[in-house]
Symmetry: D2
Subunit: 348 residues, 4 copies
């Protein structure tokens, strides 16, 4: 045990937090030394989540007692607006931080202020944070002390668009993203909108053209293509627990042939352990990544309209949150990137 890295999870009893716990416990080089919770302080974790009963006697700690500060790596799984003071405290103590919330993702404070209606973290802090999408920032992540783990929707969208943006294959101003998410994306706090009776046997758009993941997507797309990008992004709530499917539409740039697009994607992801281009004509099911860190992509040209169609499937709690955080941890420590993330999707 002494050779393992000590890690702590702040906010362990939300859906993202508990998925982190699941993955970290199964990670061979990690020792989970502290779990905090706001709602369940001093309660055994296995009482809050009885599926853990065969595994642990851990008790949820109060974030305020700072026992978590003794860990080497701190995972934050908190609602937005709570990260900055904790990150500063942890940095001052020489710790590394992986923040699964939104506070450190947007590099321009004004953008954060506009979309989150909150004061952004200090610029000095933002400057230290590396955006935790390994397929885009692998080298920086190896050195990172603070990781801003991406949002679930941005992960699914950016992996789907990155090769096309980098190689300037599509018209940036034509991008339309129609995303569909399972219900766990909304968290575990009880609310009318996520009751079984309201969700089952139904489907609907929400936060139309004003979802907070929009600027995050646009910031990263702009970095990839070197110009400002505005996208239409519409999320939908689907009656399932896990999974995000993003269906993305964009016009091919004049002169670009589909075969070129295909080759670009094939090359871009050939060596990626978690991103896979499906054979042409096969379209991703979110079930095919259930419980795993994979992202499945499919590409097609709508020949009649000249529009490129990209579909991207992830498990919102794994590659869209906690699995990606573990992938980042692996990078930070120089471990094999797939360590602790090898589990085959649970199907059916």
């Amino acid at each position: 045990m002494s050779l393992k890295v000590k890690v702590a999870v702040i906010g362990a009893t939300g859906y993202t937090g508990i998925e982190l716990v699941r993955l970290l416990w199964q990670h061979p080089y990690v020792h989970l030394t502290a779990l905090t919770s706001q709602s369940y302080v001093d309660q055994p974790l296995a009482q809050v989540y009885p599926h853990l009963l065969p595994y642990c006697g851990e008790v949820c700690r109060d974030q305020g007692d700072e026992q978590w500060l003794e860990a080497e790596v701190i995972f934050l799984a908190l609602p937005h607006g709570h990260a900055a003071p904790l990150v500063e405290r942890a940095l001052a103590a020489g710790r590394r931080i992986i923040d699964l919330g939104a506070d450190l993702r947007l590099t321009v404070p004004a953008v954060y202020r506009e979309w989150y209606q909150l004061e952004p973290p200090a610029p000095a802090l933002l400057a230290q944070a590396v955006y935790g999408l390994p397929e885009l920032y692998r080298e920086q992540l190896r050195q990172a002390r603070v990781v801003a783990n991406p949002g679930c929707y941005p992960t699914s969208v950016l992996l789907a668009l990155a090769p096309a943006m980098r190689a300037a294959l599509v018209e940036p101003q034509t991008i339309v993203i129609d995303a569909k998410s399972g219900v766990t994306g909304a968290g575990r706090s009880p609310g009318l909108a996520t009751l079984y009776g309201e969700v089952n046997e139904g489907l609907h758009p929400y936060q139309v053209a004003r979802h907070r993941h929009t600027p995050e997507i646009e910031q990263e797309l702009a970095r990839l293509c070197g110009q400002e990008v505005l996208v239409t992004f519409i999320p939908h709530l689907v009656p399932m627990s896990r999974g995000i499917l993003s269906t993305i539409y964009a016009d091919l740039r004049p002169g670009v042939r589909f075969e070129e697009v295909w080759e670009t994607y094939l090359a871009a992801y050939r060596d990626e352990p978690f991103v896979h281009l499906l054979p042409r004509g096969t379209w991703p099911h979110t079930k095919w990544v259930y419980g795993s860190n994979h992202c499945l992509l499919a590409l097609e040209l709508d020949q009649r309209t000249g529009r490129l169609i990209i579909a991207s499937a992830i498990d919102n709690l794994v590659k869209g949150a906690s699995g990606q955080a573990v992938q980042n941890l692996n990078l930070m420590y120089g471990w094999e990137e797939t360590t602790g993330l090898e589990a085959i999707p649970l199907y059916p």
Copy 2:
């Protein structure tokens, strides 16, 4: 009973057929005199669908015995490719026909041939068929002897786009349709793709850019705007039994303000009994139309991109098929258009 109109349903034991039976039995001016089935000839209907046990002793008849030909109105609920001979037989006998299949919807035989890989019905027959979307063809339907009842996706899409197309508010070549359907749209024939274990807890696109409802949508959009239209149309299979949500994206034409769009839709549907524009900011859930003939629409402008977003929700088996067929029947007989279709959606 003697004053009621006799009707028959050919193909009564599929999901569309049995939904017709449900609605027709509850219709005050209709007498259902014959039900045929290919798979369950001579079996009591209540044995095939035991939820009907408190209602009936009807037995499924063989289509071949032509007992159905004694009815005044014949509903066809068959897979494509089977309608033409039956329609001709029924017309020759002086009957009226409402065909819920696809065979009579496409007015250009070559288009049918291309998308369905089958020989189309004779042009003379096609010429008699009125496309059964009452909100577009109400007057013609009152006189129709043959109704080509629209597909489920086209219904949801055309109601969503008709006012914009007629008034030339959007750029036709920018239309992207991302549609999501419940599983009953695939019918009741057992197949791997619709097994519970394959569908539950997952979502996926299918027939990407080659779904057969595409030319039907394009034909009607072209009629509305007076020019050829090509759309990108991608359907998705969602883990729910009933419901279609179409999310539609299109660029506003230069100079068109959103308020103008809003007023156009409000005016277009103000007097429609089954099409409703939701208050701005409210987005339709498919559950809100469950079991009913309503179509709920929402509109918004994505101000950052200038794109119009339209969402449209229907029950695929009601407004998307059998309910619309009954609405057409009501029109053909001059009855109140809502007769037999007043049921409030079942929620939750």
Copy 3:
């Protein structure tokens, strides 16, 4: 309109309340004149439940303004513990009351006190209440001024056991009831236990051997067989919105043959409009009663053990609550018992 009976619903925005609204609006002899809500006072009902948008402009009233007292019949759809003062107020004003809560169901105050941990209503009030299971108390209900509408589980269980208890066909002390309910039975108040993420893809027992419907079941079984009865009753929460299936086990009394049981049930329910004995070998699906007021029963003898098995399916919100309340209303006014309850189950 003037010939219609004015009715009011107290607590219209819970799942039971809104199902009452659905049924009462479709009832030909009823005029719904007031709807109250605790959580949504002064809000349009169609804002709380947008599926009603095509139907109404009603606004939720404050229970305290007593506008509801002007109606002839008052439906109470409140949590237990709230009925007594309202019932007394309504009786004093000469109104009729149908209480869908539990407060007036238990005739022995001490039993109510023990199971509900509350003071029971006054004995004089309890004495006026008729237990609203039409199949057992039809004649008394015709004269009733106060109806104690049964619980959902008791409805499914009592219809399943009544003929056997009356005719002393089973050993009362051997009755085991294993009941399974959809999630709407838990109401619409947000709570962890009914979140989609907690309910979907899972099943569990709850309130094992201490559910409050136990004494209600026992009271009525005792009335039927003329002796005290204690049952084992275990409810389970199932991932579906609507439906209750009760599977009931009891030893046949010595000398009783299964054919006798069958004939007894057949005779008991031959003329009932809403209770149906399925053909032998067919077992009820809750989907077969979805949205309807029917109860489907199946009987079998486990020949190897001599145990009788009875299965009973209802829609918990219809025959298990609001539909039954309307059936009681019909009885109280001498209308055809099925009035407003004719809708065929929605399948699939």
Copy 4:
């Protein structure tokens, strides 16, 4: 690789087979050398199950080519009636066999003949088979050459009843088993009964008092208590993919106190890695074992009736089938019993 044990899976493309593949691939001491399929011969496994695309290039082999015979251990995941010739062939070649089907479970040929309507395997073959429930037959399994892996329902029931039967705590003739299963238990062959549209939003009993797992349960209960046992066993189909919950009712024997029952269970399972007694008052959710090899048990006394209530939850595809098979493999090779089965349940 050379030190790993070579194993083959016959019938790899059913739900049980593919779950075996998932577990065996993740097993550190196993090398999966052959997969056969009847329906998909020569097709890549990742084409049949695209969630495996990131993992493998394996092709489904024809069972007839006997390439599987080169493995040391043969797993059979076939419908009943197919095992005997394969087992004999494998034994003759000196292989070990774990049969997940039913053919080798019943020790009395006449019982097999009666319930399966087929000729049973030869007595000599049956005599070699060890019933693969490790908690009951651990020592024999260590030496076994042929394992008859238990059925899913029997696993959930026997673990729930074994301590009580061994210690004669309940009256055997009073046992009632009300079991609820997810849909994958019915396999992957398309059929009407397992279509999404037929299963979702509904629940029903099936094979009432005649399910083939009944004699298997009775045989093992009889071995445990030393006398013949007849039980009432009623399975139900629940709208979920995975999971079995068995709720079991039995009268305590006179003089037996609940505390004694509790202590007996606690002692029986204290050292079991996969069977866990929940704290009193906590009842198992099937979600709590999702994807894992655990069995969760809860016990309570219905004090009013003197009846013991036991609830037992497993994942039907893991502890109810393929996970248990791997547990048996571990025993046969003297490996840690939990090897390859450590995965934490996927929640939510």
